[in-house]
Symmetry: C2
Subunit: 436 residues, 2 copies
């Protein structure tokens, strides 16, 4: 049982695992755009037509022929004859002759021969200058406009055929709206990667069972189900397996066949962890890639691959399993989704205590964040930026616990990393916390 | 039409609106813990029993009576008789007499009279010292342990009756796992606040309709549906209403009756925006609270309340509507959920250009974030922290666009705020970007 022959740095271990996985799962599904929030595009989305599809006014005012306004000013206005109002939502059925204008609203379609819009604020209305026999209305133009001014030209926003949403994009509010703007009511999204979850340990029972002395309820299958779901995958639970090689091997083989990746959470003793490694070795080539990672928590984590699928062994300890889920399972799912890289949500905070760490080992501490009322003094950011409410600075208070209870993470807002080359972090130090 | 009599600062406007809403919606629902990811607890969750429920070993080793090890060292070991192995998942049916020990695994239950565990690494096994007639196994204890050492006592993690998840908590991976650890397979969660969405404008058509000249497809109902869903609410779409007061008033009244909050996105012209204000006034007291906010985009935003429900009027412009949705609709939903305050996901970045802004006005710019390869020079954080991959610094590049097309937000990773008291931000300045 070659345990911890080499302890790899987490980043190196992750890169090694990902290098054995294909980018993006093969198949995709056609989905109603309405239901696509949180899914990932399986192909580039092209604009079927330009936006806008007709020349639009970007102001409330008067559609004009720009040349009719040249030289116009408060002291020397231009006078244009109002020939009507452009209705919203209908074709502009007016044609401007020289020295004519038409009333137009924001978003309205420019009439024929109009090439600019004068803002309402730069005009004045004069009725029936020619006396009662003359019912025409003239508009005083107090400011000249250039051709195209206050107008959105056809295709100025989006050209026909342009890639508006690239493949591998996470669909958020704005993407959904963009699809609707183009009349794209369905699209191909990447199928959610299936992640098989296996719990092992003679002491582990289902949460809905009464626990007798010596037994503990399964936590990992459910924290990891939630993790997989949030990351865009589909969790498949295979239940709890006794500490028996052939039983574990059979379930793992089945799960690997039915899923895109599997996770085995081992029992808490060293022997069951080694059994997990043996099972992963038995699943196929290359088998175990990493056994032992230089991080805390998570040293016993096992990273493997078989036939291009990830097979991960996580410690039975619930905190260790979940933290290593964030570090290794989420990136696997994102790679299977073919998701384009995105910024990780973090929060800037000041550390409330000294944290020591073993040099050469990467530590991850659960921390509670509390809004920091005083203006910060240590991060040297411009005061204008520090006063932004949504980006207020926080205090990061590590959550200490003798045992690794899942509730230490339940009370945490995020994870603070102590890099391998640090022997600790100092009180008052500005740190960035990965939100969970 | 009293438009923009006063332009309130966004934070002040938001506080005024929220002050008219009750904290937490009245009713809640009993939900399977498995399905509770992303929901909010409607009541405090208490531990029905302590964790752990029995004294557990936190190490692989030997359960002992601590007093039997006092003074033990490499040079002067203590010798204990091994009386058996504690099975995982079963009651420890062994009783330690003086000078006896039992083999135990991590998580195993301590036998009777045992009060500490000696790590495997600090022991040696000696078989049959007394010759072939003596089959007993003795264990050499090379290090003394104190009472309770390497043991997790009953209730050390969680005491019976302790509040483990407070009311108003967003249920994430860790909370789900904590519920399972305690055997809590269902719990009361807050009902998703219903948010009614009404689009107005004669030029607006449904996304699945062909657009003829002068018409544009509805975007806001769908960006806001996604926004409401992501914020934990339930969107209810009431379709598109013509620019007609009584028609809009009737739909708004219906929506307000059926929902916890309503949002009307106005047509793009000033007249339809004022119609929205008149409709909100007609719904009940206090009616319009804020008409005109000192921000860009979003100056025409209307915040109102009727009978304790929020009634919000957003500009028809899709970017303006969505950005103001982040600023005003999300906080409304969070208040209706009774959600406890949480840190906002942000990312630290360096601005790639100068951004000017009108003093006194708060600007929100869509920005694209790209990972910043060079070690940053401007934020004065300790290098150990800057080398953290998940918290790498980014470059923030504002997305400029003449018109406010929704695709300018689709290509953005977040929103950058220019505070009201700033006349702009400088190239190279470190800023915090609110992720969207």
């Amino acid at each position: 049982m070659p345990q911890f022959l080499t302890l790899l740095p987490p980043d190196e271990a992750r890169a090694l695992l990902l290098s054995h996985l294909s980018n993006g799962t093969a198949d995709s599904a056609l989905l109603d755009s309405l239901l696509a929030l949180g899914r990932v595009t399986a192909e580039d989305i092209l604009a079927p037509h330009p936006l806008p599809e007709f020349p639009r006014s970007s102001m409330d005012g008067y559609a004009v022929r720009a040349r009719d306004t040249f030289g116009a000013s408060d002291s020397l206005p231009a006078y244009l004859t109002l020939i009507g109002e452009i209705p919203m939502g209908a074709p502009a059925n007016l044609t401007l002759a020289p020295a004519q204008c038409a009333s137009i609203h924001t978003g309205g379609m420019l009439p024929i021969h109009a090439d600019a819009v004068v803002m309402l604020e730069n005009t004045q209305t004069i009725s029936g200058r020619g006396g009662s026999s003359d019912r025409s209305t003239e508009i005083e133009i107090l400011r000249a406009v250039a051709v195209g001014e206050n107008v959105i030209a056809v295709g100025e926003d989006v050209r026909a055929g342009q890639i508006v949403i690239p493949r591998g994009t996470l669909l958020r509010e704005a993407e959904i709206g963009g699809l609707m703007a183009l009349g794209i009511t369905s699209l191909r999204v990447v199928r959610k990667p299936r992640v098989g979850l296996i719990s092992s340990g003679d002491e582990v029972i289902e949460p809905n069972q009464p626990a007798s002395a010596g037994q503990v309820r399964d936590v990992n299958a459910y924290t990891l189900s939630a993790l997989v779901t949030r990351a865009g995958g589909e969790p498949v639970r295979y239940g709890i397996v006794r500490d028996d090689f052939s039983a574990l091997q059979a379930i793992a083989q089945k799960a690997l066949t039915e899923c895109d990746a599997i996770i085995i959470t081992a029992g808490s003793s060293a022997s069951t962890r080694d059994m997990t490694a043996d099972v992963i070795r038995s699943l196929g080539a290359p088998g175990v890639l990493v056994h032992g990672i230089n991080t805390r928590p998570g040293k016993p984590t096992i990273l493997g691959a078989a036939d291009g699928k990830a097979a991960i062994g996580l410690p039975g300890n619930p905190v260790s399993a979940l933290v290593n889920g964030y570090l290794f399972v989420v990136p696997v799912i994102e790679k299977l989704l073919g998701l384009n890289p995105r910024p990780r949500p973090t929060v800037n905070a000041r550390l409330t205590v000294n944290l020591s760490s073993q040099a050469g080992r990467e530590d991850w501490w659960p921390v509670k964040l509390t809004a920091n009322r005083q203006p910060p003094t240590a991060n040297h950011q411009p005061p204008t930026v520090n006063r932004q409410p949504p980006t207020a600075n926080y205090e990061a208070e590590p959550i200490f616990g003798k045992s690794n209870l899942i509730f230490t993470l339940a009370s945490a807002d995020g994870l603070l990393k102590i890099p391998a080359d640090a022997t600790g972090l100092s009180v008052g130090e500005m740190v960035e916390v990965m939100l969970v």
